[in-house]
């Protein structure tokens, strides 16, 4: 090794010799990826393919179709289109994703990150800790906290009672408001951390130069800061959208999708059909639709990212 000090710097080069063949170099680089590719294929791609296949069968948890599931073509999808709960669930899901993730977590996370830049150190770390605390909690614990906060004789209504207001039964009368607020509370920390990191990379010289040119705070934000962290914004949007799309525990604990499927997002509906009604084929059809919705969002964000790269 001491004879070839240069090799040390290039981890991708195999130890075979100082001037390896290109193919061997590629192999060397691909090798560390193999375990993760295999794991992804086994635990991610496998279930996706199985779920896709399952959505064309009448596979069930019990009963005759559990033993010999039949291939029934598009019947699950046709039934889904005729199911009055499905369009409702799709709308509920979109509202949940757009309001709680794209608007709530994203905008709030960005605002806190911007304010934290200016805030004094003590206030900054207190706010940061409070926000991140919700993120650190395991999902089931956060869900129970949110349930205890919004339930009929919960913290929120007790606080309202102190000022003489009789609060409504949030989980019953406004289930969507409750789960959206809960998800904003839980997920804002992630966006905040992403934006904090991104804002630190904005060179101060540029903002200062803009300031010298007479740009106000809002102008600096719109013309300097936001364009410079655009990539982080779309990456963040992609991550929080997909995360929110698959939120299950929070909703299940707080409302179980009720009352009368008023807060039944697609994951809750899929679980309900597959595991409570034992209709696995139908449940996987809903899961497949969910995959499509996720793919649409992801494509939009990827396209946004790509167009930015081209501009650059």
């Amino acid at each position: 090794m001491t004879a070839q000090p240069l090799v040390k710097h290039d981890a991708a080069l195999p130890t075979g010799g100082p001037h390896p063949h290109r193919t061997a170099g590629r192999l060397g680089r691909a090798l560390p990826l193999v375990p993760s590719v295999l794991l992804l294929a086994t635990f991610l791609l496998g279930p996706v393919i199985w779920s896709f296949y399952g959505s064309f069968t009448n596979s069930a948890l019990s009963g005759p179709n559990a033993k010999n599931p039949q291939f029934i073509g598009l019947k699950n999808y046709v039934d889904l289109m005729n199911d009055p709960v499905f369009p409702l669930s799709l709308i509920v899901t979109l509202v949940f994703v757009i309001v709680s993730a794209i608007i709530g977590q994203n905008v709030l996370g960005m605002s806190i990150a911007l304010l934290m830049q200016r805030a004094n150190h003590v206030v900054g770390s207190i706010v940061g800790t409070l926000v991140v605390a919700a993120w650190v909690l395991p999902e089931i614990v956060a869900a129970f906290i949110a349930y205890a906060y919004f339930s009929n004789d919960g913290t929120l209504n007790q606080l309202l009672a102190l000022i003489g207001v009789t609060g409504p039964n949030w989980l019953f009368s406004f289930p969507m408001v409750a789960i959206i607020l809960a998800n904003v509370w839980r997920g804002t920390a992630f966006s905040m951390l992403v934006y904090q990191a991104a804002l630190q990379d904005v060179p101060t010289e540029i903002t200062e130069a803009a300031m010298v040119d007479g740009a106000g705070g809002v102008q600096r934000l719109i013309y300097i800061t936001l364009p410079m962290i655009k990539t982080s914004i779309s990456t963040n949007l992609m991550l929080i959208t997909l995360q929110t799309l698959s939120v299950f525990t929070l909703i299940w604990v707080m409302t179980k999708g009720g009352p009368a499927s008023a807060s039944s997002t697609l994951p809750v509906l899929a679980y309900h059909e597959a595991f409570q009604f034992g209709d696995i084929g139908y449940g996987t059809a809903i899961a497949t639709i969910m995959l499509v919705v996720g793919a649409i969002f992801a494509t939009i964000y990827v396209l946004l990212l790509r167009s930015e790269d081209q501009v650059k």
Binding site: T42, F172, P259, Q276
Partner: protein, 464 residues
């Protein structure tokens, strides 16, 4: 092309490593199962899965003592208890998932009677006929219990642990304050509403008469509320015409039952609709409202005393004197003058068990006279063994044992088909829409009819 070959090769090598890892991981299991067939010689493991919860520990007690007893006579056998802490519904789901694969299926398990038929159709359950022929105790089981574990082919696949009934449980102090004649036995639905009105007038702040509704309480909504109403209307067939094997739609009884619940909630006789939708409402009613004389009455199962007994989840020493029971009446007092619903749980063995003989031995030990007696008392079950039902200790277990056992004469069973869970859910949804004011009883009944037709197909329903 030449570039890809090394990559493919490396993936192949990697996958071999991964597979090797998998197979070495599973080899201990192989050892365990390969020794299983020679059960006289080698050691064997018997996996036993059952339900337990903070309010249901009797099964755990039974299984723990049977394990000790069984292992003392079978030196080479280890009984592995797998209690599942869950609600009934989640337990059924978990069990079905375990049974899907032979490698995860427990050998012996606690099985809900209404799952028995669909699990037989799925091929999950072991046919017990050959074992029962030589089991002397089998003749002690009553006919209803035998039928509960029977498949359409006439064979027995599950053995009943006990059954239950549903009756009205009312608070004597509340009734007394409202000047209701005791013992209270409503003859019609109207009697219940009249009594509730009197309680409401006499005791503000008391919930006069509450019944479950909505999807929150799940199967409890139908078993302990809606079916008591539905099976007391019209010809008493309820959901399903068993002789024609068709589901009943368009029935006036269905609309009337929903209307009764609507009245109960709209007139403030029951808990609020929001409270009703909380899955834990039964804990509020049985654990708080009844003991504190804040509720006049409700419909609940024969196992209710087990909640109030010493050591139960809501100990209430005075329940023996402060509570009365009554049969739930038919709509207008039609014969037979009362309605009850029965369910119950069984023990069954997996069709894929490697030790069927041991599995049956374990089941027969758990279901013998002494164990069945102690379980019936601990879990407030209605005994299905005639020798247990005649035991003085069983009859004296709690003051309501006779009343709830008498309800067997007017009881009904749920249709045990694999479509039932969905139809039950459609009925629960109908009650929810009505008590929350989203739909009128007529609209909710029509939505139920559409849902049932969608679930079973138009040729499987019959209009009434």
């Amino acid at each position: 092309m030449s570039r890809r070959i090394p990559i493919i090769a490396s993936i192949a090598v990697g996958s071999m490593v991964l597979l090797a890892g998998c197979s070495s991981g599973s080899s201990p299991n192989d050892n365990g199962s390969s020794s299983a067939p020679s059960e006289q010689a080698g050691p064997a493991t018997l996996k036993v899965q059952y339900l337990q919860s903070d309010t249901f520990t009797a099964m755990n007690t039974l299984m723990t003592s049977v394990k000790t007893e069984f292992e003392s006579t079978h030196k080479n056998v280890t009984v592995e208890l797998q209690p599942v802490t869950a609600t009934d519904t989640d337990y059924d789901t978990k069990l079905s998932l375990s049974l899907r694969s032979a490698s995860t299926a427990p050998d012996v398990f606690y099985e809900d009677t209404f799952q028995v038929k669909s699990d037989i159709e799925a091929g999950y359950l072991l046919n017990l006929d050959t074992y029962l022929k030589t089991w002397p105790d089998w003749s002690q089981f009553n006919e209803g219990a035998k039928a509960a574990g029977q498949g359409d082919d006439g064979s027995i696949y599950a053995i009943s642990l006990g059954t239950d009934t549903r009756v009205i449980w009312y608070s004597i102090p509340v009734m007394k304050k409202a000047n209701i004649t005791l013992p209270w036995q409503p003859k019609t639905w109207q009697d219940i509403l009249d009594t509730a009105a009197k309680i409401k007038a006499a005791e503000p702040g008391v919930v006069p008469f509450t019944m479950y509704a909505g999807t929150g309480t799940g199967e409890g909504t139908v078993m302990q509320s809606f079916y008591e109403l539905l099976y007391g209307t019209g010809n008493g067939l309820g959901l399903y015409d068993a002789s024609a094997k068709k589901w009943i739609v368009g029935s006036q009884g269905f609309i009337d039952s929903l209307t009764f619940l609507e009245t109960l909630y709209k007139d403030g006789y029951a808990v609020t609709p929001a409270e009703a939708l909380d899955p834990n409402v039964w804990k509020t009613v049985l654990g708080t409202l009844m003991p504190e004389a804040k509720a006049g009455g409700t419909v609940e199962g024969s196992y209710t005393p087990s909640f109030w007994e010493k050591g139960g989840p809501f100990p209430w020493p005075a329940y023996t004197t402060d509570v009365g029971t009554a049969l739930f009446p038919t709509q207008n007092g039609e014969a037979p003058g009362g309605v009850s619903m029965s369910g119950g749980w069984t023990l069954a063995a997996s069709a894929t068990t490697k030790n069927p003989d041991l599995a049956f031995e374990f089941m027969s030990l758990a279901l013998n006279h002494d164990n069945a007696l102690s379980y019936a008392i601990a879990a407030s079950q209605i005994a299905v063994r005639t020798d247990v039902a005649a035991e003085p200790t069983y009859l004296a277990a709690n003051p309501f044992q006779k009343a709830v056992t008498d309800a067997v004469s007017v009881t009904h069973y749920r249709p045990a088909t694999s479509d039932y869970p969905k139809i039950s859910s459609a009925a629960q949804t109908a009650t929810e829409s009505v008590i929350t004011g989203k739909q009128t009883p007529q609209e909710a009944a029509a939505a139920y009819d559409t849902a049932v037709e969608g679930i079973v197909g138009a040729d499987m329903v019959t209009k009434q």
